[in-house]
Symmetry: D2
């Protein structure tokens, strides 16, 4: 079995199965039998031929995938040896019907459609996990609407936020990118059928009708035209997957940072270590971040092959299948890991509060400065705040203590502000309104 | 002046100006004055202060961009030296008002918004050229609806298509990708305003109102939340630009191939050579294809920085501006070249016909095979066609001649088919229907 | 079986086997047994324990790869379930010895080394094919040292070159890049052994000795230090593979262009078409160009994960295995196809000559201009050449004819130059010297 | 002025100047004058003509760079308008000599060489900063040879390392990648001179001699052949830059993580915040990590254009200049920031020790396990360690305390081990030997 270990953090079992040989051959079989039936329905080929093809095609498991892969290297596509094998199977029993196998189609028609059929099933897997993830993030955010923690910018502490807001931002990013991804899957779910050069010439006047029936039979969208060198819908899908994984990466990056021993604000269920019995590793984050590292290159790889020559291109098209399958699998891997991560995330509000406290309130220096500026001016405000910060650095006191002991400050600020100047809960601004707005956009409608 | 020569094929003058220092400083000035006015309108700062800021801010040309750029390397953002300079300008005249410069904003707020304001103007440039290109391609396709030419797959000749269909496919690809790109520009046109950690805390209860007024004043969309680490709208824009350039690349690739001396089916107006007086180079294609080579990497570069840490990230955000500006400029360069290419494209239908003729009709072997299969079976059809092809290879005759002299073939096919078996016009399938459908989707509505 | 069809143009059977489960498990087994033996030799663990581990470890086929892959998603590495299974196997028979399995190693040690062992075998495959390709290209160049053809710049005709020179340039590009690639494989062939944080602490004073013995036992280079987060040697390998594939791509691009029907200067053995009996497709070129489209993104993907955190990173390392294996396989695929392409390349010198002739000599306009300039000046030279070119455009005459009939030209040039001005063989400059120099650098030394 | 702000974190002033218009025009002027002189020395053109060209060419500042850039979009290269302007300048004074400007060269010759001349100067800038960085890292490592700190894997604490070892790993990574980069600069420093199609045909028998003299005059390597479509040396340079920046990124990533408030082990000099007076931001790390995010895409962009057509390509070559200049500037930006970072890095050994202490010794669980295994077996060892870990989790005791109170453990281990089981200094393995080996490879030889 190829590459299961090497790719173990790059796919899931369920998604790998969709791009495995049996699935692809199955898709090609569906295409060829549906094509024959559509052509028969239009009178292009005899009805008994279509029936024979459907009856004799057999199942994917009956095809020698290794041989198809090997011969693909001669013809630069697995479709040609596959069609030859299918024809031989039919011809072995019913030579007259075998004449009508793959009638009027080109190798790219069958392979593109087989990949699209795999994508349709991939969409279902991703949609299910995505829905679960969004719901979990929403619940997480709601649970921690009032859980105060440090805001952090450029990896340094800033004024407070809530963990609920942070989770809402994760949720929003994932939701927006997920909606785009699912839409891209839908847009890509269209039949490919153009014949040799995209004119459906072999079908005479029946080309469009056959194409539409074929789409219907396969549960795919009809396509205004063949898309042999118009790869936008696949490119858009891979790009959307790149953006989606980036949004999962934001979540995983934050969690892995918050799970550092010195920070200790959350914990993944985690995986163990082969050597260190005390360890609980952010394994899910690692798996997500692995996809994050890989996806930009995979998106680039797909884009690099998109400007394809004439009616059917050279090289660009031939590069697509491995990149497309790798990109979708990397997405599924990151999504699966994200679901596990969020579902089992432990949150430690006490540590969040403690991390605020250990700054001794210097994160409120901005607040104080802005409060002082209108009264004493920017320069004097800066001088006073710097004086307070210096006092803190030198001794063990907190920002609030120091401020409350500086008459130059207490004289010009309201008593209320002086007393709450270092209270995290008093300096959250619009955090809760923003949180609610972010989630509202993605909440399911009440039924 | 930096890099005009090095980047001469990577931008246009008009687009370069939008990302030049004066434009970015201008955007930052617009942000700061609109912010002050919005805050004054909400009672957050005094109205006279806002008026003073607007009055004293001055024009972009009055700022020392070189100094800003130099100091940016200390603070990791040009916004900090810019805000300092602006404050100093105001303070020089009206120290009391200077206290309210940049009130409650963070450096990322001003720089993100300045970039967005540049993008709004970039959209207008691109929309205009894009509209022109689509109209030209549509007209080109209509003019050549009946111009027959070789279809080509994997760079080898196949059955015929029309040049009108080829141009319609270009038009469709460009239209679809262009619509997505313009939509992505629109989605990115939103204000950034969150303050230090995205809670707008310094604004107290007025955060959302200030943000909304600011958006309105700048002609940008309101934003449900700050997007300090939610870079999806920019990532989506860069990705859409990548897909758009790929669609232009398809056009340029085809033109450059068709313009080869031995093919000679079209000609760009072209550029000369420094050494070869006879040459007419596909210069526009070269410029388009240069962007095609660069864009996948630029898309990857943007995606690579998107999973940003906590409330404002480290590195990822700092990587965006050069990539975003390079990507938008590369897009404008390719689009500008494409417009010139299509507007001055010469088409040589005679050479298209001649290239069909020089195949001596072997491209109709598929047609004949499919016609024979139902009657004589796949094997016999293949045998007959192979016999005909061998005859052609050995002598100077054409496929039609040979076919019409083979009784085994003429006996089983209709006289009509025998006589037109090698007529390109008789084997175009649904080319014209497909062409019309492709264009119909993008034609302007009748008025 | 996963992805054989999807990846059929992305690997070869032989190379895929090296990254398949059995190979990777085999490498991990080699690491663990060699580690135990090295530790026993240093007195770190009992000799009988090492013997038991070696005896009981079993073969790769005895391990449940599917289970390892599945569990890898919990621990973020397949090494942990593998070590657990190995330990259980030993413990089932000899619990005392099982205590010493994987002693002092970390999961990254075993997986990195297993990948390196696969790379060592990959190098051998690539070296063999590479040597064959270089030899074929050299012979091709020698055979066609005097075969004159059009030079082409920006896809337009220019003065002549020889096909021998073109093949020598291919050979040089492939040779230079190939030497770098093989060197990079060698540099990557070093043991990984650092223990939990790279200090080999569990080994006490024996760490370095065990590491060196382990390297020797596995036939790998000793390593001055563990390279848990110093991924330069792998990154350099992937980068070198990218450059190598680009050099193969130059060859394939040229061949596919020369094989166009209208150009017809070479032909691949080619693959057939599922629909078009007359076609001979440049299938090998297509396969090479598929890798060309994919490799830049794979290189980017690897680089994106290289800046890894602290003693062992999160995400970046976890992203490597799929990218590394995909990159090496894509290289092997392109190389295999290139060998087939060159070995069976048909060359048509007559068509090369005919393509020169069909330019009617205008490609010599540069030559004439440069010859005239010293005598009549740049402006007059340009005027005369333009006059000649216009005459040719209007009628059926050739450049030579026209030139020889213009007294303003014949009066100022030597008779010899006038008579050979449009002779390709007379305007090859240093083509042959350059060709010989290029090949000399890569020819095997005489024995 | 274009893009100074947008690119402020993407270049340095000194490096930007090398790719600015004046530098590139200067390089083109050097090429053309040296070419004329070399040709005169070989008797290809008159000596007075070469002298006139050198005398009249003028300085870069006298050329209208904006006009060159604008016209470049017609001819797809700035070289053509530049050569026209140069010729016009010479012709204005000495028409006879103007005939010999750019004699026998092609536009790519002059532009490639001008870029190479910029690279030669870029190498000097990078070499100087690189040398400084390596020396600083070496000194940093030596100073902290005995400074013990937590090892961290997957962002979780592990057994101890020394900060000296960590700095030595940074130093080694930077040194290895820097040596490769400087070597790649050297390999790229070769003249480009091939004429229209790379045969130097216009030079007759003097082509090679002129090329060699030209190389010598410009201080560049002679080149066995023109490299119009053999872009390996530039691709290798860009790839090496990618690896170098990745090595700087490892350093910056670690520093930014260690500088987190909760970790507090080091501090950059840092930059301030526009809003938060208390903040000291890891600005240098941010600048380095910005290049880290961008470089993989830039490398991919260069690779994507490398398989160039025939004698001079279309698009791929035209894409190189912007990518090459962006990549070299991004490298210089990261290197400059790294130098500042390391030169001013504050190190806090007390916090390093404190972070070890706050784990209460659980990081020594591995050590204890391995020590117990030989005596009590793997299962019992695991049980005992788990018991100890549970005890710690429940109360306030440390690992050492707990261990020393467990008779089942003290009975089977040496008194020495029991007393030092949680001593960081006693569990550093080969850290110091590895550190010394790593640095020894890069230390300057004693003089």
């Amino acid at each position: 079995m190829r590459g299961r270990l090497v790719d173990s953090l790059a796919t899931t079992d369920a998604m790998a199965a969709l791009f495995a040989d049996e699935s692809i051959i199955g898709g090609m079989l569906r295409f060829e039998t549906a094509l024959a039936q559509s052509e028969a329905a239009c009178g292009v080929i005899p009805v008994p031929a279509a029936e024979a093809i459907a009856r004799l095609a057999g199942s994917a498991a009956e095809y020698d995938a290794a041989a198809i892969a090997r011969e693909a290297r001669h013809s630069a596509t697995p479709a040609i040896p596959f069609v030859r094998m299918l024809t031989a199977r039919v011809a072995g029993v019913d030579p007259a019907s075998a004449r009508f196998v793959h009638f009027g189609a080109t190798s790219q028609d069958v392979l593109d459609t087989a990949l699209v059929l795999a994508l349709v099933r991939a969409r279902a897997l991703i949609a299910a996990d995505h829905g679960r993830l969004v719901a979990s993030l929403m619940a997480l955010s709601d649970r921690h609407a009032a859980t105060v923690m440090l805001g952090r910018t450029i990896l340094q502490p800033g004024p407070p936020v809530t963990f609920g807001l942070k989770a809402a931002i994760w949720c929003d990013a994932v939701s927006v990118a997920g909606a785009r991804l699912l839409h891209a899957f839908d847009a890509a779910a269209r039949v490919q059928f153009g014949g040799a050069v995209g004119t459906r010439a072999a079908l005479g006047a029946h080309g469009d009708e056959v194409a539409d029936r074929l789409a219907d039979a396969l549960g795919l969208s009809r396509s205004a035209a063949p898309w042999h060198t118009q790869r936008d819908s696949l490119g858009s899908l891979v790009g959307a997957a790149g953006l989606y994984v980036a949004s999962l990466g934001k979540l995983a990056r934050d969690v892995s940072l918050m799970m550092q021993d010195e920070v200790g604000e959350v914990a993944e269920r985690g995986g163990g270590s082969s050597t260190m019995p005390h360890k609980r590793n952010p394994s899910a984050s690692a798996i997500v971040l692995a996809s994050v590292a890989r996806m930009p290159g995979l998106v680039a790889a797909f884009l690099s092959g998109m400007s394809q020559e004439h009616e059917r291109g050279i090289g660009g098209w031939h590069a697509e299948a491995p990149t497309l399958s790798a990109a979708v699998q990397a997405t599924a891997s990151a999504l699966d890991a994200s679901c596990g991560l969020v579902d089992h995330l432990e949150v430690f509000p006490d540590r969040m509060r403690a991390n605020i406290d250990r700054t001794r309130g210097v994160i409120f220096a901005e607040r104080l400065t802005l409060a002082l500026v209108p009264t004493v001016g920017r320069d004097e405000a800066a001088r006073l705040v710097a004086e307070a910060l210096a006092t803190i650095r030198d001794g063990g006191r907190t920002f609030g203590d120091v401020i409350r002991s500086m008459p130059a400050i207490t004289a010009v600020l309201s008593a209320d502000l002086v007393s709450t100047v270092d209270s995290p809960d008093a300096y959250l601004g619009s955090a809760e309104q923003i949180r609610q707005r972010l989630l509202a956009a993605h909440r399911p409608l009440p039924t």
